[in-house]
């Protein structure tokens, strides 16, 4: 009997943990969408398709190979020509220096879950780590 109730309790704790993580992910995703609309959609469009040869699409392939760079680009902008889906884009990307690590984590979670191949949260620590690395 004790064994069964212990099992029962651990199932409850486990599923509660699961859903807490799920809820956090939902929050990141929803917040990320709002931030995306404000800071990114003007150029990259709501559907992530970009605009002709001016502003590149939010590309799955580029994102999975360049996560560190993507996080840095969102915050610091960039002037380099980017090759995305075999097309080159040379319009400068403006910086968003006011974005906090939590906001960057939310945007990154949103775009990687929406158009990338990730199904998990980008944690704040991962963002901080990336920002440290792109300083060097």
């Amino acid at each position: 009997m004790r064994g069964i109730s212990l099992l029962f309790v651990s199932i409850i704790i486990f599923s509660a943990c699961q859903s807490a993580q799920e809820i956090k992910k939902m929050q990141y995703f929803v917040e990320g969408l709002e931030l995306y609309k404000t800071h990114c959609a003007n150029c990259h469009q709501l559907d992530g398709a970009g605009l002709a040869g001016l502003y590149p699409p939010i590309s799955k392939e580029y994102m999975s190979n360049n996560k560190l760079k993507v996080i840095c680009l969102i915050r610091n902008g960039g002037n380099d020509t980017l090759i995305i889906n075999n097309k080159s884009y040379n319009q400068a990307m403006p910086a968003n220096l006011n974005l906090e690590p939590i906001e960057l984590a939310e945007i990154t979670t949103y775009i990687y879950n929406k158009w990338g191949d990730e199904t998990v949260i980008t944690e704040i620590d991962e963002v901080k780590n990336a920002l440290e690395k792109c300083k060097q």
């Binding site: 003007n42 469009q45 605009l51 002709a52 040869g53 001016l54 319009q91 403006p94």
Partner: protein, 218 residues
């Protein structure tokens, strides 16, 4: 119900239907915007007062293909939509260009409709820069012209001609402030509508108004 009342009901019903239909068909006429003036003219020996409408002042700019563009490109020939932007603009221009692209694609190859985008940053937006920008937007030919010129002339035509704001301001994002307006100009160079080029619904309205203006007799 007598025959008389029956007939009356029929007549009322028909006239109601008739008026509803004819009201719906009544065409919206676009206003002529800007300040007006009057002058006395003499027609057949009689003196009359004529209205002088606000028109776009004369301008001379250079487009992305290094061709000169003046009012003569449009006067009596085309209606056009004008706007003010700069290629490195981080704020509202991408939205404006998204919407203008939509308009352009809708009216592409229509010889009676043109688009005129003025840079407000001529120092950076030279002819080659504008050419590259147009190419990247998928624009060829000269239906949509991206023009540059003397900065003061551009700011002046914005304010005095198109009733739009454009000026330098180091405190603004990107260094300039400008309105996101799309200005609809008729064949007589008169301003017939001003729309917010960052809002999709307003651009839908502009699209309909262009169709209306195309139907208008000179």
């Amino acid at each position: 119900m007598s025959k008389g009342t029956f007939l009356l009901v029929i007549v009322v019903a028909f006239s109601f239907i008739f008026f509803t239909i004819s009201c719906k068909k009544s065409v919206k006429i676009l206003p002529i915007l800007g300040e007006r003036d009057t002058k006395n003219i003499v027609i057949d020996g009689k003196s009359k007062i004529d209205t002088i409408y606000h028109t776009i002042p004369n301008f001379t700019f250079i487009d992305q293909n290094a061709d000169t563009v003046t009012n003569q490109a449009y006067k009596d020939k085309k209606i056009y939509v004008a706007d003010f932007f700069f290629t490195s603009c981080p704020t509202i221009c991408p939205k404006m260009k998204t919407q203008m692209s939509r308009l352009y694609r809708h009216f592409v190859d229509n010889e009676l409709v043109a688009f005129l985008s003025h840079t407000i940053d001529p120092r950076h937006d030279t002819v080659p820069v504008l050419k590259e920008f147009a190419k990247n937007l998928g624009v060829s030919g000269n239906q949509w012209r991206f023009v540059t010129g003397e900065k003061e002339k551009i700011y002046e035509v914005a304010l005095k001609g198109y009733m739009a704001t454009a000026k330098e301001d180091s405190t603004a994002d990107g260094g300039f402030i400008h309105s996101g307006a799309f200005i609809l100009v008729d064949k007589n160079q008169r301003v017939r509508g001003i729309y917010d080029g960052t809002i999709s619904e307003e651009v839908d309205e502009l699209m309909e108004d262009i169709d209306l203006l195309l139907l208008e007799k000179k």
